[in-house]
Symmetry: C2
Subunit: 259 residues, 2 copies
């Protein structure tokens, strides 16, 4: 009976079976520029499986999106912390971050689309990944990136944007969105104010997108990232309740997408 | 080893331990009027425990809110399907329902407050209930009722409104709200349009209420109730996805309230 009991505990209590996560840099190119993301997965699992692109904040690919990718890998996903700035490119100041993000989110967004689609193609090529079971998530500018992937018509199951920039120069592109959308938004976000949220709702409704919008009280921009500090008057700050709730809601959304 | 295995399965898999739910009519009075709700609870559990008031749609206390109360009792709560119309009073037509609901939600709302607070008092008096661990939920007009209970300053942990009427003649009363608020709203609800939702957000923000607002695409009024049918063009219709998601989100919210 003992082995059965052990198996039962292992099956019912995933905490006893914490995976050893493998980390692997993955390069991809758009034109002459090389990008490098990091793949996280449990290599004890050999079957092609569900996967998530994790899109970085305006700082570039740093420890924050890597940590989120690792969290997802612990949950059984192949998680790809992508790079849309170029291999090793990270902003050192707020001004530099704003300049780099603005360059990609303004204009026709063709460059941003090409880069995030190249990341998706690289992910789909992996033997660990079931190419029909991919979602994308993103934080701040990364939420905009994940939404842009969906607006480009990419064949993904869904997108989650956390304190994402929601505006687009091309609202009619929402008609290209194939998957479902979940937006987790801080009710006091000064960088994504309610007129932008309402315009986004209008965009989603006009294109009949399957969306959900969650608005959290007392949360400003960057509410999921402890590095944003604890002073909401700065416009960006961590909010433990909104972080916890939005992560749980993402899990429930994924359970639905990847059923 | 066998008894241990059985206990382990019982502990980890609540489905093996589906409760036998006791049903009990409970009367309470406001002035000369008698009201009668129905209490649902598992009488195998003898300790005072967490409890939920379930507030009815504008039809009055009918099978729908009773079914929801029974669901909550199966989940371990003492659930009270309340009555704010009077013992046995149910609307027979849409016009009658509209008239009865409007009479209570217009004006100063003192009558509605008195009735829902009388229901809360009756629930608190039960030996099965921990009076410090009570929440309220409501559907349509019942969501308005649950919010009115909070706006009256009642000592409850939180409120969930499903396709709730959000407006109030007294927005300043939001300052009385002691618990947390979760609103699950249909993005295409013609009876609770976006200007009403935005006014509610302003009300919550001005009073620094701990709120969350979830908006579901393609959902109109009454989206949790299969009896509303499947034609959204009527303004009320069932939406399985929004029903499922909002119920899961309520469970997560309760896990936080009753931790």
């Amino acid at each position: 009976m003992k082995p059965l009991l052990t198996s039962l505990i292992m099956a019912l209590c995933p905490i006893f079976a914490l995976a050893a996560i493998k980390t692997e840099p993955i390069q991809y190119k758009v034109g002459d520029t090389t990008f490098e993301g990091v793949l996280y997965y449990d290599d004890a699992d050999s079957a092609p499986r569900r996967a998530v692109l994790v899109c970085h904040e305006w700082w570039g690919l740093n420890d924050y999106s890597k940590k989120r990718a690792e969290q997802l890998a612990q949950m059984g996903y192949v998680a790809f912390a992508v790079d849309v700035y170029g291999k090793g490119v990270q902003a050192k100041t707020q001004e530099e971050a704003a300049r780099m993000a603005t360059a990609l989110r303004s204009g026709d967004r063709a460059t941003l689309r090409a880069r995030i689609n190249a990341a998706l193609t690289a992910l789909k090529a992996r033997k660990e990944v079931d190419p029909k079971k991919i979602a994308a998530i993103g934080y701040c500018f990364g939420g905009t990136t994940a939404l842009e992937l969906a607006r480009s018509g990419a064949d993904i199951l869904g997108v989650v944007g956390f304190h994402a920039g929601l505006s687009t120069p091309n609202p009619a592109d929402a008609k290209n969105i194939k998957g479902k959308v979940l937006i987790c938004h801080g009710g006091d976000d000064p960088f994504v104010p309610m007129p932008e949220v309402n315009a986004f709702l209008d965009e989603m409704k006009a294109a009949k997108v399957d969306y959900q919008l969650n608005i959290y009280s007392d949360a400003v921009h960057t509410f999921t990232n402890p590095a944003a500090g604890n002073d909401p008057s700065k416009g960006s700050a961590y909010n433990a309740q909104a972080d916890h709730r939005s992560f749980e809601e993402m899990k429930q959304f994924f359970a639905e997408l990847f059923h």
